[in-house]
Symmetry: D3
Subunit: 248 residues, 6 copies
């Protein structure tokens, strides 16, 4: 069940049995020469929709542009400043709270978003804390999970790609996008086969250290089949984790 494909009467009905929602959150940023710019939005979106379809959980619209300053050295990357992202997450959250949602599960596809998502939660909570006691509204509970950190997901990724799964433009995430968009499979050799690893500060520094955008990965081993496996495993893990949250 997707919010974007529901009517307001559908949502009114949904709220009678649940006050929890999953919101995919990603990024528009380079993922190497063979990975799609939308990778980090596509992965959580595809997995969340699977859970929404199978279990009737409500899936919000995808928060598709996130914090990708460090990838701005590569054409096509888009970013919000963190202060903008905090304001936007707050507005999405307060809109949903207005209707009676009390548990927001942000399902994240981009490690670079994590910090700002946490900051946004604290911003929303602080607004309520600064209110006089007793506060007039029920508390909003928010959590954020990275899809690859759900139980058993990383193990499956390593099993599928024992070497060169990597840290950015990973074989696993590229596989998920190929499964989602089979006509976007890119066949191309990359040099070096496995990209270098290391750290970085800003966009210039990143591009200087990782000239084709990848970190530690060999995404050429990504297959549609592996992608489908990862989606299956992650969707199960998400469903289990979300249920715990919704009942907490």
């Amino acid at each position: 069940m997707q919010l974007s494909l529901s009517t307001w009467t559908d949502i009114e009905q949904y709220l009678k049995t649940s006050d929890a929602i999953i919101i995919p959150i990603g990024s528009m940023e380079q993922h190497g020469p063979t990975g799609l710019i939308g990778t980090d939005a596509i992965c959580p979106e595809v997995i969340a929709k699977r859970v929404g379809d199978e279990h009737g959980v409500l899936i919000g619209p995808t928060f598709n542009v996130g914090c990708a300053q460090h990838h701005l050295g590569f054409p096509g990357t888009m970013t919000l400043r963190p202060s903008t992202m905090i304001a936007a997450i707050a507005d999405w959250s307060l809109s949903l709270a207005k209707h009676g949602f009390k548990k927001l599960y942000w399902f994240n596809g981009h490690g670079g978003n994590t910090a700002t998502i946490q900051a946004a939660f604290a911003e929303v909570y602080a607004q309520r804390s600064f209110e006089p006691s007793p506060a007039r509204q029920p508390a909003l509970r928010m959590t954020s999970k990275n899809w690859w950190e759900l139980p058993s997901v990383m193990a499956k990724c390593k099993e599928l790609h024992p070497s060169g799964d990597g840290m950015h433009a990973t074989a696993s995430e590229v596989a998920v996008t190929y499964a989602a968009y089979p006509d976007q499979v890119r066949n191309q050799t990359l040099e070096p086969k496995i990209a270098p690893i290391g750290s970085f500060t800003d966009a210039e520094h990143y591009r200087a250290n990782f000239p084709d955008g990848r970190i530690g990965s060999d995404p050429t081993q990504a297959t549609i089949e592996a992608g489908n496996t990862i989606i299956d495993v992650t969707a199960q893990a998400l469903w289990a984790d979300f249920q715990k949250f919704a009942q907490s």
Copy 2:
């Protein structure tokens, strides 16, 4: 060609021949008992993708939550505060400008967004105006068009729905979403058949005046077929209008 489904090397290539992009921009808001909450995001997205597919124009990610304060009286509606939306549009624009895009065509699906989009343009322009002369960056040119206002589109909508096309949750926009998502067609009678018209200020006032969310419309006449016709006509109009802008 979609930015989200491109690699950074694709975009690098694209920028050699064009510095223009189309960005669909919509809203998540109630569209009456039979219209989808995502209607205003779906319409420009579907039409823009058509043009992207047929003519190789780059289509950006969809800016999917806009200014819908006045619909917050209905469950599922989400909004940005205008100040947040201005900041977000500025960030999207400056990200694209960083890569060399100089002409941003925001293709809009929600009348309630128009004011804030214009305000956002002025915000971006003002930042550059306040710089010392001569400014160090080439000017960014931005335009915004509502899909139903492109030449010949409204005429076609009126031809398809001579009465009760309406102002909100229109038969035409609902038809476009049914064409895009055929499994979401809702068959339901509405009472009154054609919703009342009138004006409104805030969300409470809106809900009081328009109890089921529609304004002046009878969306039950929406069909997949009509939706496809509107997509065809509007895609042609968009392509023509965008070309003029890209070459200006």
Copy 3:
């Protein structure tokens, strides 16, 4: 009755019979070689004061600097960034609401302000929407009207200036300012007599396309007499429109 020329006890008295106020809102921006920079503030101010004097309606101070980024290519133009203007309109509105005003009628003299005024209304409404239900304060109702769009005003302007009334630095608005400040009448020929028309994006683009600042107008035909006629007609239209709003 002007707020600026009232005592607080006068306002206390006024609030016993009315909770509505008219606030003139304009701009400081070039109006061609013969038009005053304050034109867009002067027009609504003069017309509103007429109504205030004749009917005892309270007229707020004039919001005199608005959104004029696109005129910054001409000396003397001043602008607020839209985000600043939203904050300022919100503060003015909340100040008035504090005292019991519930209906704010913003009487606008500058087309370039319209978008940001609408955005500001949504910002103020959103703040209340994000509050828990039931909201603790009575709703604030806000509207904005451009003086030249009130019933019968444009017809009169066209009658007075059948050709070359134009879009910016119009003969009609210049006439109103000459009627208000007779010692400021400028007698000067302009070349071309009627300025070109067209579109624009930012300040540089505007100045390049419209070198003396006018768009489509021949303001040399402006007379004090015509200005007085326009003030008469518009003041009547304002009074009628405001009454409807105040009683809504």
Copy 4:
């Protein structure tokens, strides 16, 4: 010479001989039962215009709503939040700097504005300081003066009103507004004749301590004649002070 009553070509001409401007800045706030809400905007406006008329100095539009939180307990008072006022003063300043103005003389009518005006200057200066060296723009120089603190002004006020000139709603400032708007003279006895003095924190505290709004003043002794005298003396002092600033 007033910016609002000038054309852009007038300003272009003015900038050939001067890069300095005077900007009146005031407040909309209660001034006791006999003082006008606009008092603090009217005083600097009237005095500055006098100097503008006599010496050809450019006078900007009046910044008419300032920081008056502490007067919000009285109907009609309007305030900006300080953060809004800082943003607005920055926008006004950067607009003028864009055209080549380098010296901005803010002529202030409200003690409660002083802090925020100074903060705004530091905000504008800081933006430039945070730029890399060497900065690309010539420095902007800003000063703010309270009219009653110009040399010899306070002495004249005390001479005219030896007792009960006071701190708020002073006999002197009320006299200036009566001179400016002779039809607004209010004849009313006040009880006590001289209002109490003391300190305050917020609006509630203010109203509790100063029930009719005055502090330490007896404005009933204000006369048109005294107002004219004060305008004369202050205009001379302003002209002298401004010249020093413009040549610094």
Copy 5:
């Protein structure tokens, strides 16, 4: 008693007998060739801690970086933009109000902070004023005092340094820091012995006018002994002034 060295149970206890707190507020900015960059933070901190130790008053953490834009021409100076400082003071204040503190005494060591502190108070008060009546929270009362302006302090400073105490990097404030950090005494001759006086606008202007950072002072006469005397006198004055505030 220092908040930073207390447990939360200590504070719970304290709040049973007092709702007032002293918060030292300073700056990190150059103080001439012999004065410490932390001078303006050290002075109020040392004096406040003395009062906290002697009388059991709660002393908050030191707000250590303030408004020092005008000193940015000298290495080591740090500043907040005024808009940031307003937000930070608001957050500190609302945090303390959350626990039941109702009287905040900001004990200031830097003249350049005064304006922004006052602006911050008005920002906090305005937020409450814009709430509907009756407000749901008890009023917060805030005051700010510069240590050198407390009764009898300046007299003592002048007695200790009859000539060349000065306006910035004063002999008195440097003496206080030497008393606080005896191992930081700098013995150095300065040329000229007494620095020039004058006014300034931004950082460049300041450095041009006051090349070694001092204004009107000869800090070489600062001694540990004088510093201790000033601390004694000021601590007594602070205690007296704070008591009045706490009981108001």
Copy 6:
């Protein structure tokens, strides 16, 4: 070497040999019934000063109030909203960059700060990324380290407190503060001896789950001796880590 205890000429000298600085960053928040509210500021401050004293590294002022919304349920806790903290970190950073510092090492004492610190870095970097290429200023490089995560520190903490070191109000951090402030050692039994563990969302949720503020810890085992050991070990690790950063 501490910035607060240096003169501007000291810093001018320092910048000739180094462009790197360590800035302690902490929090004011409850640390259980026996831990000091300033714990998270004291720990990095004490350790950094040790390194500053031993190796001549410049130590900035302590950023003492951070993100502690989740502890606001306990008296004395203070927090910044994340948006405020981002602005403040940006201002501190740009001030230092102005003088030629290029490498900022934020030495953090509070896990709850991590997200917002990272967001602040991205905010500062984004501002530069949005500038036209080539950027006019040298890149600023920023890193943040939590003291307990430096190599070998956690091992030492676990060795000293094999059980009940915990997650909040840990025996180790309390030991460090006792070493720093021996007169603040609190001898008190806690019930239960080892606090519960678990997760939390906002301040109310935290207090409900962890009634005395501790998470998983038994801080009663903290000793001055253990604190000194931890300071020694961590200072060595910090010096090693900082050198690598400064030379990168």
